[in-house]
Amino acid sequence: MDGLHVAVVDIRETKLDIAAALDFVYDPRFGGIASFIGRVREHNLGRIVTGITYDLFEPLALNTFRAIGEKARDEVGEPLKLYIAHAKGDLGIGDPAVIVAAGTPHRDEAFRACRLAIEAVKHEAPIWKQEHYIDGDSAWSEGCSLCEEQRESELQRQGETGHGHAH
């Protein structure tokens, strides 16, 4: 789709760039630009984090981002510009891991497109986070299954217990 930019950014080569994201979604027709930056936090589940390694299955991640763009356009309608970029590799505390920016004529559509996109990136894109802790230990995060049968039973369990995804 036009007006969509998707990227996987190897952070050995370059950083995620919010200014580039905002430039991409700029349009004289647009009054509302909503954006989200996900950064590496120094704590998770009570443990002190020193860094995160992101692993991605790149071609499918990019395909997934494109599909998310189509879904956002179906959801909020035209015109829309959307930017989705995710980091790959070893990140330190405070480094941006993901950037989503959405530009639309009015703000409600921009917020909805931005939120829809970041939720889908987190729950649908083939990306894995390995946390490194201050004690030298590392662990791959508990994640969200992409397997249809598993997703259904996970969603059902969430409905029963009233818990959503914390991640």
Binding site: D55, L56, H86, P126, K129, G143, L146, C147, E148
Partner: protein, 86 residues
Amino acid sequence: MKTRIALYGALRDADPSGHVDLDVPAGCDIAGLRQLLIRHLRQHAPGIGAGLVERSAFASAEEILHDARSVPEGVELAVLPPVSGG
């Protein structure tokens, strides 16, 4: 046929090469491939629980392949543990 399956996330620990090669009988579906992978890992990477593979999806570079799909011929696949991007 031989099918190569690339490993990601926690499943990378199953083989330092980043992939496993499985012998897949003709007509095998993804559900069957999953059982073959579980059996392979039980033997070669006993540290990987079968539960993780049960919760993983299989995919080509283009799309997720659900359980009823046939294993495509001559295509490298990937096994995707539960995702945690963002």
